[in-house]
């Protein structure tokens, strides 16, 4: 046990100095296991190719220029959809969280439309807007907006009513309460919502690309499935994971650090 603990303490010190190491070291055993399973041929090669084959597929697809193009298409779609979703979602969430009347009028409708789900909209969106950026954007906005709104409402409602009262009795205006009590109080939840929303927006994008796509990572994966080529499917999945890591740790995690930890909600 002691050598293990020693190793662990070294690992902890290392990750304390370079936190980004902590996010990919856990994958080393996973990749080793994957390599081992494929090397022992537990499953047929055609069902589960090894890391080396996926790597060579990555190189050849990058060389041909297919992969960079598809990647760019997917990222642009996600960015456009996410921005719209955030811009619409946070104000809506604040409104529903703060106003009882808005809650009565909008909450049931919101639940219903969330229940329909972005993907169920795909068939009719294709009829309305055809195969293209508009359909994709609508689907992503639709996915991003619900987690953001629901979490914002949860955040607003989890602020203790005494906070409102304290601020009001100290003479704060409604706008000031919104800016200095509600928004900061709900911020950790909003960020959680954003994180969820983007993660699932990403997923909706993949679904949209699989079902109605003509380009993008999702399209690449489904095209490979038609051809029965597992290598490219796995490559697509890994790229999705890495891309999410980049979005999450370069954009979302800093935001979360600036909110959640500042407000003392996560103990490190």
């Amino acid at each position: 046990m002691t050598p293990f603990l020693k190793l662990w303490s070294r690992y902890v010190r290392l990750t304390a100095r370079w936190p980004s190491i902590a996010s990919f070291v856990p994958f080393i055993p996973v990749i080793a296991l994957w390599w081992l399973v494929t090397a022992l041929e537990v499953f047929p090669r055609a069902f589960l190719p090894g890391p080396a084959e996926v790597w060579s597929a990555f190189k050849s697809l990058t060389y041909k220029g297919v992969l960079p193009d598809y990647l760019q298409d997917s990222m642009v779609r996600l960015a456009v959809g996410a921005l719209w979703g955030i811009a619409l979602g946070i104000p809506l969430g604040l409104l529903i969280g703060m106003s009882k009347r808005a809650h009565t009028a909008l909450w049931p409708v919101l639940l219903f439309f969330q229940a329909i789900g972005d993907i169920a909209w795909l068939p009719i969106l294709v009829i309305w807007f055809g195969y293209g950026l508009v359909t994709m954007t609508v689907v992503i906005v639709y996915t991003v907006i619900f987690p953001v709104v629901l979490n914002t409402v949860l955040g607003v409602r989890s602020i203790h009513v005494n906070m409102h009262r304290a601020a009001l009795s100290l003479g704060a205006s409604r706008l000031r309460v919104l800016w200095e009590v509600v928004l900061p109080g709900a911020l950790p939840n909003i960020v959680t919502g954003l994180r969820n929303g983007l993660g699932y927006g990403w997923r909706a994008l993949i679904a949209a690309e699989i079902i109605v796509g003509t380009s993008g990572i999702g399209f690449m994966m489904f095209d490979a499935r038609r051809a029965g080529s597992v290598v490219e499917i796995l490559l697509g999945m890994i790229i999705l994971g890495i891309l999410w890591y980049i979005v999450d740790s370069w954009i979302l995690a800093p935001i979360e650090r600036a909110t959640g930890q500042r407000w003392g909600l996560v103990s490190r």
């Binding site: 662990w8 990750t15 902590a22 996010s23 070291v25 856990p26 996973v30 069902f47 009882k100 809650h103 009565t104 009028a105 909008l106 049931p108 409708v109 639940l111 219903f112 439309f113 969330q114 229940a115 329909i116 789900g117 972005d118 993907i119 169920a120 909209w121 795909l122 068939p123 009719i124 009829i127 309305w128 987690p147 949860l154 409602r157 989890s158 993660g199 699932y200 997923r203 909706a204 993949i206 679904a207 699989i210 079902i211 999702g218 994966m221 490979a224 499935r225 597992v230 499917i233 796995l234 697509g236 999945m237 999705l240 994971g241 999410w244 890591y245 999450d248 909600l265 996560v266 103990s267």
Partner: protein, 259 residues
């Protein structure tokens, strides 16, 4: 009085929908919208009655619900114990959080191509997708819930002499429950979504399949009917199963004030 109160809150819940339906019934004929773009209320009701009569709608609903039930129950049985187990120890939770975070993003739809190759088109692939969608997000949320319990609370319980079992049942599980329930709710929401996507691609029965086939024939009334059925089913699930669950946990622990 109590009954009256419940009745009025139910009415209040339904009121926004009545407004929407009225708008639909009035606006679509008024602007003379092409039925290939958006159906009238009447044609959707007709399509509903017809599909119930020929038994196709109940068959689709039954198939979809069965898949969700099997996948979700399997996933919860594995995910919650695993999440608690990993969250208890600082070592495993810091080590495994990045793994579960990336897998919970990959979960569901990204697995459709490979699941349909491994399991073939049908029940296996779709149940796998649902299991996947619920499992990773519930595990991740449980992990998060357990590891965000303030250290002081755990230390206090330990210094008061709580054993492992008492710690689990009186500190860790209650503390993580709001997160677990949120996880179940989002996980199921997205499993439901994954189900629809998987059914569009990988099967020949189910609600997603019904939508996708209708699109090929520009039968918007069937598409809208399917969307409404999907929405209503989820709402029922949410109101009758998940919301009471949340009330019993999140609100009990004083995290949300009742509206």
């Amino acid at each position: 009085m109590h009954l009256l109160q419940r009745l009025s809150s139910a009415l209040l819940f339904l009121l926004p929908f009545a407004v929407l339906l009225t708008l639909w019934a009035v606006l679509v004929p008024y602007f003379n919208i092409n039925p290939r773009l958006f159906p009238t209320l009447g044609s959707v009701i007709e399509a509903g009655i017809e599909s119930v009569r020929d038994g196709s709608l109940p068959a689709h609903i039954g198939a979809s619900l069965m898949r969700v039930l099997v996948g979700t129950v399997l996933a919860l049985f594995v995910a919650i114990p695993l999440g608690v187990l990993m969250g208890v120890s600082q070592v495993t939770s810091t080590f495994l959080t990045p793994l579960f975070r990336s897998f919970s993003v990959l979960a569901g739809i990204a697995w459709i191509p490979i699941a349909s190759l491994w399991f073939g088109y049908g029940f296996g692939a779709i149940t796998f997708i649902i299991f996947n969608a619920v499992f990773f997000i519930v595990t991740y949320n449980t992990l998060l819930g357990v590891s965000t319990i303030p250290r002081e609370v755990r230390n206090a319980a330990a210094s008061l002499g709580a054993g492992r079992v008492a710690m689990l049942t009186e500190v860790l599980l209650p503390g993580a429950l709001p997160n677990i329930v949120t996880g179940i709710r989002t996980g199921l929401g997205f499993a439901w979504r994954g189900l629809i996507a998987a059914e569009m691609i990988a099967t020949n029965v189910g609600l997603g399949y019904m939508l996708f086939v209708a699109r090929d024939f520009y039968r918007t009334e069937v598409i809208v009917l399917g969307m409404i059925v999907i929405g209503v089913l989820w709402l029922l699930l949410d109101r009758l199963v998940l919301a009471p669950l949340e009330r019993a946990t999140v609100e009990r622990w004083g995290m949300v004030q009742r509206a």
